[in-house]
Amino acid sequence: MDFGSHAGFIFASYGLCLLTILALIAWVRFDKAHQDRSLRELAEQGITRARPENESKNAR
C-alpha cells in the first residue's frame, strides 16, 4: 500500500512511538529484575520480611 510522499513522516512517527513503548517495557522489566535480585540477595543474608501475612491483615 502506498503512503504517498509523506511516508517517511508516518513511519518515523510510528517507529518512534514503538521505540518509546519498548523503552517503557524495558524499563519496567529491568527494574523488576533489579528489585528481584536485591530482594534475593537480602534473603540470602537472612533478611526477610518477618511480619507474617495474617498480622498484616489486621494492621489496617
Binding site: 518477618a50 511480619r51 498484616s56 494492621a59
Partner: protein
C-alpha cells in the same frame, strides 16, 4: 502547694522516620511541676520523641493531649523547643534576636502555670550575657549563643519546655544556672521534657527509659510496602 492543672498525655505514640520505625506504643503522662527525663542509648529515638512532642514529626499512630491547655491551641503551641540548633541569627544583635522571638512566638497562658514574662533585657541579664546585648550575635561564643537561645524560653511564657541535651556547650557554672532556671520553671507549675546523658539535679523528675526490643515484633507499617 498548687493543683496540677496541666497534664500532658501521650498515648501510644508511634513514629516512622525514613521508612524506619523509631519507637512504638509509647505512652506517658506528665503533670505540672514535673520533669520527664528521657534516657536511652544513642539513636534510640530521644530526639525524635522531643521533636514529636514539638509537633515537628508526624505521628504514625497515637495522640498527644494537653489537659488544661488553651482550647484553640495545639499542645506544641504551649511548648518551647530547645534543641541542638540555636536559631540565632548572627547578623542581628542579641536583643534584636530576642525581641523577634518575643513578638513572634505566641505566649500560652494556662491555669496553674505562673511563669512570668521577662523583657529581653532582663532575660539576657539573667543568663549573664547582658554585656553583649547590643552586639551582633556573630561575636558570641558557642556557649553564649546557647545561652541566648535559652533566654528565648524566658521572654515568652509557655508551660512546656522540650529540651534536647540542654547542657551541651555549657560550662559548669552555666549548667548550674540552667538547672536553677529549670527548677524555677517547675516551681512555677511548668513541665519539662528533657533528653540527656548527664544527671540533672531537678526537683521533681520522672524517668522515661527508651530501650530496644526484638526487631520482629515491631516491623513498621512501611515494611509492608
Amino acid at each position: 502547694m498548687r493543683s496540677p492543672a496541666l497534664n500532658l498525655i501521650a498515648e501510644n505514640l508511634t513514629i516512622d522516620r525514613g521508612g524506619r520505625r523509631v519507637f512504638q506504643d509509647l505512652s506517658f503522662s506528665l503533670e505540672s511541676g514535673t520533669a520527664l527525663v528521657v534516657t536511652g542509648a544513642n539513636g534510640i529515638g530521644k530526639s525524635s520523641l522531643l521533636r514529636t512532642l514539638a509537633g515537628l514529626v508526624a505521628l504514625a499512630k497515637g495522640k498527644i493531649l494537653l489537659e488544661g491547655g488553651e482550647d484553640d491551641k495545639l499542645p506544641q503551641e504551649h511548648a518551647h523547643y530547645f534543641g541542638h540548633q540555636d536559631a540565632v541569627k548572627p547578623a542581628l544583635s542579641v536583643l534584636e534576636n530576642l525581641k523577634f522571638w518575643q513578638s513572634f512566638a505566641a505566649p500560652a497562658q494556662t491555669a496553674g502555670f505562673t511563669g512570668i514574662q521577662m523583657t529581653p533585657a532582663e532575660a539576657v541579664e539573667t543568663l549573664g550575657i547582658g554585656h553583649t546585648a547590643q552586639l551582633p550575635a556573630a561575636y558570641l561564643s558557642a556557649g553564649q549563643k546557647r545561652r541566648l537561645s535559652l533566654s528565648r524560653l524566658l521572654v515568652t511564657p509557655r508551660p512546656i519546655w522540650l529540651m534536647d541535651e540542654p547542657t551541651s556547650a555549657l560550662d559548669k557554672a552555666s549548667e548550674q544556672q540552667l538547672l536553677d532556671l529549670m527548677n524555677g520553671h517547675l516551681t512555677a507549675g511548668g513541665m519539662i521534657v528533657t533528653a540527656t546523658h548527664t544527671e540533672l539535679a531537678l526537683t521533681n523528675t520522672k524517668i522515661l527509659h527508651l530501650q530496644a526490643v526484638a526487631p520482629d515484633a515491631s516491623a513498621p507499617e512501611e515494611m509492608l510496602i
